[in-house]
Point group: C2
Chain length 436, copies 2
């Protein structure tokens, strides 16, 4: 484990006092924080799994995206498998004590070996927890077996719908676990199932909005900031949104210009307050999930007055070619984590239920500190955390890796609380629809 | 981790087929077993912590003692700390979500540095889980700080009773955690407290009986044996008990002779059935907890007709000098685990809540395979498990360490289920007493 630690990214900034301050607050207030989280899970159960992209600017540590269909289980440190299995078992124990047979439905990327490794790893962890698992594909008509580079074997089977139940041949699934973010909408075969579906269909990106998530996150961050007495901005990215945007026809540009400038203005004021000399920026992206597509960095609202054709085309479409009309404008958070080879890195934290598992670094050798690193096609290498984010160490300095990871775990769990509140909104919405 | 694995004890026996058979059954039926356990915890919550002494004879794998005041947390592999912390957090989450401040009450061995290391480690794990912890001594009048060999600092503080609440100076404890097995009875200062006490006072050895535990264990083992279709004897030691024994006056010898012979007879029949050539033996011990005292190995009932004075004296008294009158006669289970140095070893498995944490080997260089290894004064060296008992591996053979540990985790959890049923008995008993 020591070897792993020596290689992890370090903070390439001299502006670490504020972050040390955040980390110190988090470690000192640990018992209050943990009790506060326990209170949250009492109110609303957490989703089955989630992963949170964080950005660590040294002076600010904040989530920039929360994924409810986590697709990098293969990137987690295999050394901590017992922790992952124990997290699944605790979740089952609490919410599905009678469960034995699970049907896992992955994305339709049947040729992406990295993604298939994730599916194989997830299936393995579920099996190690004592579940029987089949993997059912939304697009295959026949069984398909993959020999993966890791040596894992993955069998995809065609789905069968029998009345209100979804299954694969000869398998009586009791629960449907989605690892497919439903960007293209909910396929008919998944609708009105008798079996419970996790995450709920409403968590799909056709329905979910980043602005709703970050509105909840803002409230959650404020609550915790009060409890531990810090400026909530230090853990919360400012945001705005614009609706009815048509990038191709340049409709809605005024909204973009005004809101980009508004976010920059607030950021500028906070930077001045903390003596931060970096240039404020924003990240503009589709309000519905993107898979790293349709994302741009901007330094002023003006930039949206004269986007060139290439930029407009890039922003206009999201995953599965969906047109983008709602736009999310988020304060850019620099990432000052970098590897020994000076590649930019951002942490991704994984959770099952309320349990932080650890995570990995998304490392990009061709992108800057002010850019989205979740870029398709480009070279990125995951780097497993050397530790789990579960345990801080009071004897070590606040910037020791063990304590930095603990801070990551706290901020990721704040985003998880926000996600549970989003899910509660959907349940309410569903109940209202049923009542109509 | 690989280094640790190469050093662990191996099974020094050629009679491993039956055990491989047990392990194969356990791994094949894993999903059924895990679901069965989840059903058990739904009915009765597990104790906060427990540890189980196992004996592995190759042909038989069984618990021989279940401790509800586990005192070897310092012997667990520190590499898996996140798993231990996560187990505590899950327990709190489920049963004590509002908890922040815990008062830990250890044994009165204020000069046993090994024991104090256990207390320091337990306190550390509780703190890492986000609790504030104080350690309150039943016997000290002043604060006492220990610099332990591990480098840990342990502060013991005098207890204060204020009305119905127990605490140390300036600390408002919300829960009392006992690491003291109350062999000497329940001190007055612990009686009728407003705060919850874990484990309950009834779990103390003044009240608890091995025969009650193993009667529950027998039922639990039979239930699981049916579910996975094995002979329950392979995981359950036969036992009898005798009451009203006075070793010094040689009273009750007839009961001992008859029951020792009865246990041996059943064992002999099973040995013959499985073609086992070892000589059957029994372990005779106090029915109330012993701390390794007052334990003897016997090969026939006759041996109890002419115990010499030294043997009678040794058997007559238990921990804290308590006279032994109820005697527990348990089928002896050979331990065929031995270290590379040919020392005899037996596994001890630790749990918090329903979560198996892993364990360690109790290694004794001066004792035989048919003797109790929990012997005070003699040389014993704990050896941390290289793995956690959480995760089996279907790709490895059933006797691979990872799978042997999984089997240990299953059998230890059976004993844990038996302990939860014992605790339910005490609650019932309490309720009846209150109702009178």
């Amino acid at each position: 484990m020591t070897e792993v630690l020596q290689d992890i990214p370090f903070l390439a900034t001299d502006r670490v006092e504020a972050l040390l301050d955040i980390e110190r607050h988090l470690i000192t207030a640990q018992s209050t924080i943990e009790r506060w989280f326990r209170g949250q899970w009492q109110r609303t159960p957490p989703p089955f799994y989630a992963s949170v992209d964080l950005r660590n600017a040294g002076f600010k540590l904040a989530p920039v995206d929360t994924n409810l269909f986590s697709a990098g289980f293969n990137n987690l440190n295999p050394e901590f498998s017992p922790l992952y299995v124990s997290a699944i078992q605790h979740y089952l124990n609490q919410y599905y004590p009678g469960l034995e047979r699970v049907l896992l439905i992955p994305e339709n990327h049947t040729r992406n070996l990295f993604y298939l490794e994730n599916v194989a790893r997830l299936r393995e962890l579920l099996e190690l927890s004592g579940l029987e698992v089949r993997v059912g594909s939304l697009i295959l008509d026949d069984r398909m077996a993959y020999n993966l580079p890791s040596g894992n074997l993955l069998l995809l089977e065609p789905l069968q719908r029998i009345g209100g139940r979804l299954t694969t041949a000869g398998f009586d699934a009791q629960l449907i676990l989605l690892n497919n973010d439903l960007s293209g909408g909910v396929p008919e075969i998944l609708e009105h199932l008798e079996q419970p579906v996790l995450p709920p269909l409403a968590a799909g990106w056709r329905n979910r909005r980043k602005s709703q998530h970050f509105a909840h996150y803002r409230a959650v961050a404020q609550e915790l900031a009060e409890v531990i007495d810090i400026d909530p901005w230090l853990i919360d990215p400012v945001f705005r949104r614009c609706q009815g945007i048509d990038f191709m026809r340049s409709e809605g540009r005024e909204c973009l210009v005004a809101n980009v400038d508004a976010v920059l203005e607030i950021t500028r004021e906070r930077y001045a307050h903390y003596g931060i000399r970096q240039r404020p920026f924003v990240i503009v992206k589709a309000d519905a999930g993107t898979y790293g597509m349709g994302i741009m960095t901007a330094y002023s609202g003006e930039e949206f007055l004269d986007l060139n054709r290439r930029e407009r085309t890039r922003m206009a479409k999201s995953k599965e070619g969906l047109p983008v009309s709602d736009v999310f404008i988020q304060e850019g958070v620099y990432t000052f984590e970098q590897t020994a080879q000076e590649a930019v890195a951002e942490p991704v934290v994984y959770m099952i239920g309320q349990q932080v598992l650890g995570g990995f670094y998304r490392v990009h050798t061709e992108r800057g500190r002010d850019e989205n690193l979740n870029a398709p096609g480009a070279h990125f290498e995951p780097m497993a955390f050397g530790q789990t984010c579960v345990v801080p160490c009071r004897k070590s300095p606040p910037d020791a890796p063990v304590n930095r990871y603990y801070a990551y775990g706290v901020i990721a769990r704040l985003a998880l609380v926000a996600a549970t509140r989003e899910m509660a909104d959907w349940r309410l919405q569903n109940a209202l629809e049923v009542a109509q």
